[in-house]
Symmetry: C2
């Protein structure tokens, strides 16, 4: 005996309502576990005393958070997590506007934006959660591998997130096929145009932070457009070449959108800091955005080369040679 | 009661004989576990049937090894593993020559080369083992997270390798301080000069593979020299800035040396394939070297920017803001 839930012949459609919501939710799991790993690592790094500073400024051992490489790891964790959270929030706002905005055209634009974001929120945030939870273990050193510390559990738990509700490759297929190739890259280029407007705002600032972010954001956005054109033009003629770069394309798009959101937060934070509002918090926002631009967003050109020039070597090896 | 092992007051020196050997050995653990993860993933990918090909060439489902993104993951695993093994073998040969070559000057050169290699064999091979064993889980999909499959154990076991016998940051401190800054970058530049000779050999070939590898190797080597100069010149004046980029410098150096060894294997393999020796094996070597160059070695310029331009943002955040 079975029960019919809802109307006949609409099961697949219902399933996809669930699935899209589940994909977004798994992205949030990635962000949440990354945040928890970050907080735990910060707490440990402020507590654990080991080694004198590399600049010789103090002759005794210090909490490890003073060491530059610990800062590098914590900043990486922090920048990824804050940035992915901003991306997820913007995607959620677009979903709301797609359903509740009074103007039908604005609804349509927001729906297209949201649909482009879902594979990024799912794919990019969960991939970053692997790296962030791994860095969380690393900050703990040997203690990170010890079960009772808890850092290793975040690392293990995060590992399912790039797999369930569609692996990263499935998210990437969605991004390449339904979200990019199907409309000839129009939605993707529309997002790039929005990013260009953020660049113009950055260019109007005289701060070194805004200038540093602008340089990487512009390069990443130009890089992204080249890849979108490659994907849109070649997906029919050379599907194997395009799908050989599908996950790198997802990672590039996610990297760019996150860098963009952090750039937007920098603009707001600079204004508020100047106005004297929550200065310490706003200054931290600016520092985090700049770190992301200089250490993560700057990976974009390398990814482009892999996708556009390197497709052949992905599939060159004979099957028997593996 | 205690026992004196060896002579008095030479304990630390003895310990470091053990430690250097242990560091090399942990690097080999990384390579070994990566190889095992690769073999298991290949075996699964040839067996597991799921989905039709993206190019529509066949109307039925195929073993997943036919899908481009599975090939991308397997090639990444393979290229890292083969390349790090080549690097470790070259380091071991230098160690032998440093101890047994009849010419004292050749001994000295080989000792310096070996000492430069130890943090790379340890640091780079174990960092890559994290990525390779993680990809091994990913190739298995949901089965990878299931304990009885075994892929997750490689992933967990590999996690200690970047920690024990000196974390990656400790290897990087060694590379920056004792191995690069102390001789003003001379050993590092000597290695770059050797790489340039490999480039000249690649340039004398007319194959597209050699040309593709040459392009990335040259760029990575030039990038490396810039970073070596930064490290050598700034390590006294701005130690915090140099050490903020110490791990990225290690990853850049490891990436370059591995790409170089794979380029050398390409040269040998092309000759042997032309001579009719083990053609399938040699062709696979060439394909693997090219994949590495186009998908991994090409990350070098992004890393340089992080180190040379991004040091400030690593340490900008106030301690209270973490």
């Amino acid at each position: 005996m079975g029960y019919l839930v809802g109307e006949e012949n609409r099961g697949l459609e219902y399933m996809f309502i669930m699935m899209n919501s589940a994909r977004y939710a798994v992205g949030m799991q990635g962000i949440a576990i990354a945040e928890r790993a970050y907080q735990k690592a910060v707490s440990f790094a402020k507590d654990r005393v080991q080694s004198r500073p590399v600049d010789g400024s103090i002759k005794s051992s210090l909490p490890i958070i003073h060491h530059p490489d610990i800062k590098r790891m914590l900043m990486t964790m922090r920048a990824y997590t804050e940035g992915c959270r901003a991306m997820a929030a913007v995607a959620a706002a677009a979903y709301d506007a797609a359903h509740h905005h009074p103007d039908a055209e604005v609804q349509r634009q927001n729906q297209a934006f949201y649909e482009f974001m879902v594979p990024l929120v799912k794919g990019y945030s969960t991939e970053m959660s692997q790296e962030v939870t791994s860095l969380g273990v690393q900050v703990h050193g040997g203690m990170g591998f010890i079960e009772e510390t808890g850092a290793a559990q975040y690392y293990r738990d995060a590992r399912i997130l790039t797999i369930y509700e569609g692996t990263t490759a499935i998210q990437a297929n969605d991004l390449v096929g339904r979200k990019t190739a199907r409309d000839g890259g129009q939605t993707a280029k529309g997002i790039a145009a929005q990013i260009e407007r953020t660049e113009a705002e950055l260019a109007s600032r005289d701060s070194l932070d805004a200038r540093a972010v602008l340089k990487r954001l512009k390069l990443a956005r130009e890089t992204f457009i080249e890849v979108v054109e490659f994907v849109a033009c070649q997906s029919k003629a050379s599907p194997n070449a395009v799908f050989a770069g599908s996950v790198p394309y997802l990672m590039l798009a996610g990297n760019l959108v996150v860098g963009w959101q952090l750039a937007r937060s920098l603009l707001v934070a600079e204004d508020l800091a100047k106005a004297g509002t929550d200065v310490a918090f706003m200054t931290a926002k600016v520092a985090t955005a700049r770190f992301y631009a200089e250490h993560i967003l700057n990976k974009a050109p390398g990814i482009r080369d892999s996708i556009v020039e390197g497709a052949g070597s992905v599939t060159a090896l004979a099957l028997e040679a593996f």
